[in-house]
Structures are given as structure tokens and as C-alpha cells.
């Protein structure tokens, strides 16, 4: 049994009463570390400040296009002593143009409220949907009617059907076209049986290929098509033209004496061509006008009668032109076009020319959006456009929003679905030229001054 007695007095008597005057090593270490950390922080900031380096105060990495400015914050940010001041729009407009979105908008957001810098993003144009929905979720204008849907929240759940399909309006095109027939296999063509592909008639601008079913000049020389080519950047399909897509199958023959077709042009041009052709033929065959013309085909609504011989070359010319025009206006052109004639066929005033209803081919089905076929080139045309079952020109073959939403929706395994992907905020039709102000030497000097 131990005899050590531990009393409060004995315990208290053990204590060195001056101990608090000598800091324990642990306390000393704590004090030194605290002092050291404070000094390191102050020295770090002070040293960088003395060198004029502002990079540490950056809110994040700048976007790739702005990286050329290095750490020269003053390029966009206001300089000395300017507290509580944001990057002004003028700082952006020094290099960029930003046309007004809509003259009837109730307010104009600042550049930096939509285009967020210091996130390291490669494209500052990729703005959040909220930048658009701050207005378009409950749209109001300063005057007049609202022409678009005013309650748009996002692409998947809050976006209306595309305007082209919304009211079930028919295709306004006046060309008679049956896609189903054209997409059948083994179509009869002058060169033999063919099977058409979508790309034989429909092609985005700038694709340097021959048109296999166009006029001879287009079948071998793709550059000839560039006269009518839209700017490459639009990404839309080039308008379908007879010369590029139809000519080799849909011949405009008019008389057995000639192998050539009439030009695919206005009726007055066609008539002039016919008259010239027959005059040239008479010049080469002076006795042709005396021969009796045998009927070659039964024309709709006309009995098969043998025509009496012409009394003069002029009469023969008139008859031949009239017969050719009857064939063309009555059958050939009617195959695809809607014609309006001022008088019935082969009665009074056969000299009156028909009027061809304008084709009204819609060049852009999404006037308020940007669509580019090039990023979609891996898709089969029929995956979006129901052409294989279309028989009427009036069929609108634009895909609906549901087709796009299958790929374009939020989430990691999906295509981009934010507003900027299809819509532009700035009205680029009002674009103005930006006057560049930097010289290379000045830019490099500013950059090196900021990082010295």
C-alpha cells in the first residue's frame, strides 16, 4: 500500500507560480506561426503590388480570345481609384460590335450581364438561358404587338412549336412536286433508270460537287453553280433550281425537228426562242413550209386531224410556234408549274402569253433562328425530313421541335440546347464596322507591363 498522500495543499505547493512568465514551447510555436502566416500574407500581396501585378485579383481565367491581353486588366476594367465601377459597355464596344436586339425592347442589358468573362470559357457568346428568359419568360415591349411567343423558359419544356408548323400552314411553294415519286427506286430517265438521293437536288451552300441531274454545264463544272450560291455561312440549303436539279430528266422538248430544249425561262423568252429556231430551220430548209404536217400525238382535248398545208412561210412559222406553245403551255410546263392563261387554248388571241405563278420557294423556314446543316451532316436527311411519304407540294417537310428535342436537351449526354445555339441576340443586319485601335507593339507592351 503506498503511502504517498496527494492533498490539495501538496498539489498546489508543487506549482511554480512564475510559470506563466515563461511561454511554453507550444505557445511560442503557435505565436510564431501566427505571426509568420500574417507576414507571409502581407509580404505576398505587398510584393506583387509593388511589382504592379494585378493578376492575382482576377476573378478567374479569361476567355481564350481575350488571353492575348495577358494580365493587362486595364484593357477592360477602369483604372486607378475606380471603386464600385463595373466594366463599361464601351470597353467591349472598343473591339466588338453589339447591335441592338430589338428597338422595342423595354431595357437593354449590359454586355457583361450576359457575356460572362473570367470563366475561362472558349466562347463568351455561350450565355445562360436566363440572359434571354429575363425578358422572354414574360415578354413585354414598349409599343405595338408582340409577334413571338412571350412565355419561353427553356428549349425542352418552355418553347413553342416552330412557327412553320405551328398553324399548320401549307407550303406556299407553287411547284408541283411529289417527293414520294421522286424517291422511288428505278425512276425512268433519259440516261436509264436512276434512284435519286436527297443530295442530288438539295445541298447546303458551298458544297463543291457536280449536280448529276442538272444541265450539262452543271454536271461537270461545279463552279458554274456558284452564281446562285448563298453565302457559305448560312448553312441553309441552296434553292432548288431547274438548271441544277431537274434539267437532265425533265426535258423541255418542243418539236421533233429539234433535239434542243427550250430555255427554262419566261414565256416571252421561250416564244422568241421558238420563233428563232423555226426561222433558222426554214432558212436551212426553204421548202419545209410546203410539206403537210402529220399529227404526232393526240393532244388533250383536241381531235386528231391533219393540218392543211400552210399558204406561206410566215403562216407555217406561226403554226409551228403555236403548236410548240400548245405542247409547252398545255403539258410540259404544266407538269410542274401553275399557269394562268388569259384565253382558252387554240381560240381567239393565241398570241397572249400565259402567266407562270411564281414558284415561291421558301428559302428559310426558321426566320428567327439559325440552323446550320453542316453540324448535322452525319444524320440521314429522312431522319428529320419526312420526304419519303410526301406527295403534295403543300406538305411542310420541316421537322417539328420534338424531333430536335430528341438530341438537344439539357444534360451531359446531349447536344446543346441553350438559346444561343439557335438564336442570335444581336441584330446583325445592323452590324457596323469596328475600327481597330491596337497596334501589335502597343498590345505587347501593355501585356509585358502588366506582367513585369
Amino acid at each position: 500500500m503506498h503511502q504517498r498522500k496527494r492533498t490539495a495543499k501538496r498539489v498546489a505547493q508543487r506549482i511554480d507560480l512564475q510559470y506563466f512568465q515563461r511561454p511554453h514551447p507550444l505557445r511560442r510555436m503557435r505565436f510564431r506561426l501566427a505571426l509568420g502566416a500574417t507576414i507571409v500574407a502581407v509580404v505576398w500581396v505587398g510584393w506583387l503590388g509593388a511589382r504592379g501585378e494585378e493578376g492575382i485579383y482576377s476573378a478567374g481565367p479569361v476567355s481564350s480570345p481575350h488571353a492575348v491581353f495577358g494580365a493587362a486588366c486595364i484593357t477592360c476594367h477602369v483604372g486607378e481609384g475606380a471603386y464600385f465601377k463595373r466594366v463599361s459597355d464601351q470597353a467591349c464596344l472598343d473591339c466588338h460590335d453589339g447591335p441592338q436586339h430589338n428597338p422595342r425592347e423595354t431595357f437593354t442589358p449590359t454586355c457583361s450581364s450576359c457575356h460572362i468573362e473570367h470563366t475561362g470559357a472558349p466562347r463568351m457568346a455561350e450565355v445562360r438561358d436566363t440572359a434571354c428568359t429575363q425578358c422572354h419568360a414574360a415578354l413585354s415591349v414598349t409599343s405595338g404587338q408582340i409577334e413571338v411567343d412571350g412565355t419561353i423558359s427553356d428549349f425542352v419544356s418552355g418553347h413553342p412549336e416552330f412557327a412553320a408548323l405551328r398553324d399548320r400552314r401549307p407550303d406556299p411553294g407553287a411547284i408541283k412536286l411529289n417527293h414520294e415519286v421522286h424517291m422511288k427506286a428505278g425512276l425512268r430517265a433519259p440516261t436509264g433508270n436512276v434512284t435519286l438521293e436527297c443530295g442530288d437536288c438539295h445541298r447546303p451552300a458551298g458544297v463543291p460537287e457536280a449536280w448529276p441531274y442538272g444541265e450539262a454545264q452543271f454536271r461537270t463544272v461545279a463552279a458554274a453553280s456558284r452564281r446562285e450560291v448563298m453565302p457559305v455561312s448560312t448553312g441553309r440549303m441552296e434553292p432548288v433550281t431547274y438548271a441544277r436539279s431537274c434539267a437532265s430528266c425533265h426535258l423541255l422538248e418542243f418539236d421533233k425537228r429539234f433535239t434542243a430544249s427550250v430555255p427554262h425561262d419566261k414565256p416571252e423568252v421561250v416564244r422568241a426562242f421558238l420563233e428563232r429556231s423555226f426561222r433558222d430551220y426554214l432558212a436551212r430548209n426553204p421548202d419545209a413550209w410546203r410539206k403537210v404536217e402529220e399529227p404526232e400525238r393526240r393532244l388533250p382535248g383536241r381531235p386528231m386531224v391533219t393540218e392543211p398545208p400552210a399558204r406561206s412561210p410566215e403562216e407555217w412559222l406561226r403554226r409551228r410556234v403555236a403548236a410548240s406553245e400548245r405542247l409547252l403551255w398545255g403539258k410540259t410546263c404544266l407538269e410542274c408549274h401553275a399557269l394562268t392563261r388569259p384565253a382558252p387554248l387554240a381560240t381567239q388571241n393565241e398570241r397572249a402569253l400565259p402567266e407562270i405563278t411564281p414558284v415561291s420557294q421558301t428559302a428559310q423556314w426558321l426566320p428567327r433562328a439559325r440552323f446550320h446543316h453542316e453540324p448535322h451532316r452525319m444524320m440521314a436527311c429522312t431522319s428529320c425530313h419526312a420526304a419519303a411519304t410526301s406527295r403534295e407540294t403543300a406538305d411542310v417537310l420541316m421537322p417539328g421541335i420534338a424531333t430536335c428535342q430528341q438530341c438537344h436537351h439539357p444534360g451531359p449526354q446531349s447536344a446543346e440546347s441553350r438559346c444561343f445555339e439557335c438564336h442570335a441576340y444581336h441584330d446583325w443586319t445592323q452590324k457596323t464596322r469596328t475600327k481597330g485601335k491596337y497596334q501589335i507593339e502597343e498590345l505587347l507592351r501593355r501585356r509585358s507591363a502588366a506582367t513585369r
Binding site: H2, A37, A41, G60, C73, R86, S113, I116, R128, T130
Partner: protein, 298 residues
């Protein structure tokens, strides 16, 4: 400090504040055209609120320097330090929009995270370890006195041996080596017997116990209670029952020394985290002030 039911009101206020902040943040994050930014109105609000919490937490150190000043109760300061310090992290995250930003803001965010996590760890240690210390080291003393107490234990052991008639060859403090009042003859006889037994005791003391008392290490024989018990049991077999009380006292001294070791270790754990927490929090406050000024400039 124990985190007990007295913290309930602080916990409630903190949770309420966090809930209100979250309710304000979520629509701000979702609906803001440019996304959450520190310089926006809401961002500034969160930043100021978080900074106020951090400042309050930081002022605890200053408050401790003037304990006699009646600037609120120490408990209030401590509880505020805990709960407002904890609240500062989500507020600053809301301020930053959960982005770490550029160089300075990244440093600040990591400092804040480390400070808060070390604080949470420290609070947990402060909650559990004192009780553990009381259980494992009931003979604890003031931490800064441990060295002094060890010296006194060595002196006490020397005294015990001297009183038992042992000759202590070392320079260990032994204030009273005069021994007890025995007659010369008896002392001579007793000394003969004692010499052998105290020699064994002395040998044990000089070879094992004193090195352990002077420089205690965990690996020493006497550092382990069970092994020490066995050692002393063996010593008891080597000495007469008259010396068993001395052996018991020596054993008790070793037990006290072991408790001092445990106390030291627990104290290091209990306060070691402050070596990280305090310096980093000071750096956080300094750099945070720099950030507040410079961010408003840009």
C-alpha cells in the same frame, strides 16, 4: 468546450440563418442572367455576411487577450466563434457562387475550408478529449508544469530511497538524505540487510525508473502500465516486506509519470490543431480584407 444543450439556441439560429440564406441563394443562382457572382447585389450581401461571421470568429483571439475586460461572456464569445465561424463557410460559398475564381480567391477559399475543417475537428476534440483526459490522467497537472512536476517526482523518488537507506549515486535532487533516527548498532545490522535490498532497489531506480522519469518515452518498460506492474512485482520479490511501501510509492510515482505522458499527448492533440487553425485564420482575415478592397476596385 462541451457542445451540449446550452448550444441549442445557437444551433437553431445558425440553422435558421443557413436556411434563409439557402432560400435566398437558390432562386438567385437559377434566375440570375449572368449567374451567381460575388460582385452582384446578392453576392455582396453574402460576402458581407460571411465576412462579419469570420470577423466575429477572429475576434475571439483578441477577446482572450483582455480577459478582465467585460466585453461579453467568454462562453458567448466561444459559442459565437463556433457557430458563426461554421456559418461563414456556406455564406462565402454562396458569395462565390461555388466557384473558386482566380489566384487570390482560390487561396482564400482553401484557407477558409481548412480553417473551418480544422475548427470542426478542434471542436470535436475539445468536446471529447477533456473527459478522456480526466479518465486517463486523473493525476493531471497544469500542462506547462509537467516538466517541473517530473523534476519533483524525481526528487520525491530520491527522497523515498534515501529514507529507505539507499545511496543514490546520481545528481538527482534529493533534499533530505539524512535518513531516520536509528541507533548505531541497530543501524549497522539493519544497514547490512538493507544494503543488499536497497542496492537492488537502487539499481532498479537508476537503471529503469530515473531514466523513465527524466526522459519519458512510450517505448520504455515503465511507460506501459502492465509491464510496469510486472516489473514492480518482481522488485517486491527482491526486497523485504518493510520496503514494499517504498516500492508502492515508487510505483505510484511511475503511475503519475505515465499519466503525465498521457496528459501531454492528449494536450498536444487537444491543442495541436491550433497550430494550423490560428495562423491560417489570421492569413485568411488579412487576405480577405485585401480581396474585399481589390474586388470592389475591379
Amino acid at each position: 468546450m462541451l457542445i451540449d444543450s446550452t448550444h441549442r439556441s445557437w444551433l437553431a439560429v445558425t440553422l435558421l440563418a443557413l436556411g434563409a440564406a439557402t432560400l435566398a441563394y437558390v432562386p438567385y443562382h437559377v434566375l440570375s442572367p449572368s449567374g451567381p457572382k460575388g460582385g452582384s447585389l446578392m453576392g455582396l450581401f453574402f460576402g458581407i455576411a460571411g465576412s462579419v461571421c469570420m470577423l466575429y470568429a477572429g475576434l475571439l483571439g483578441a477577446r482572450k487577450k483582455v480577459p478582465v475586460w467585460r466585453v461579453g461572456r467568454a462562453q458567448t464569445w466561444m459559442r459565437g466563434h463556433l457557430w458563426l465561424g461554421l456559418l461563414s463557410l456556406p455564406l462565402i460559398l454562396f458569395h462565390a457562387g461555388f466557384k473558386f475564381g482566380g489566384t487570390l480567391t482560390q487561396v482564400l477559399m482553401w484557407l477558409l475550408i481548412i480553417v473551418v475543417i480544422s475548427g470542426i475537428v478542434g471542436a470535436a476534440l475539445q468536446h471529447y478529449l477533456p473527459r478522456m483526459m480526466t479518465q486517463q490522467a486523473p493525476l493531471e497537472t497544469i500542462y506547462e508544469q509537467i516538466g517541473n512536476i517530473r523534476g519533483q517526482l524525481i526528487a520525491e523518488a530520491g527522497q523515498l530511497l534515501s529514507a529507505a537507506g539507499a545511496a543514490i549515486p546520481s545528481s538527482a535532487a534529493s533534499p533530505d538524505q539524512a535518513g531516520r533516527g536509528l541507533s548505531h548498532a541497530e543501524a549497522a545490522v539493519a544497514a547490512n540487510v538493507k544494503t543488499v535490498e536497497t542496492g537492488r532497489l537502487t539499481e532498479f531506480y537508476t537503471s529503469e525508473m530515473r531514466p523513465f522519469l527524466e526522459q519519458p518515452t512510450r517505448h520504455h518498460l515503465l511507460a506501459d502500465g502492465i509491464r510496469a506492474q510486472a516489473a514492480f512485482r518482481q522488485v517486491r520479490t527482491l526486497v523485504s516486506p518493510e520496503l514494499h511501501s517504498v516500492v508502492a510509492d515508487l510505483e505510484n510515482i511511475c503511475e503519475e509519470a505515465r499519466q503525465l505522458i498521457r496528459q501531454e499527448k492528449l494536450h498536444h492533440i487537444l491543442h495541436g490543431w491550433l497550430l494550423l487553425h490560428i495562423p491560417l485564420s489570421l492569413a485568411l482575415l488579412v487576405l480577405g480584407a485585401v480581396h474585399a478592397v481589390m474586388a470592389l476596385r475591379y
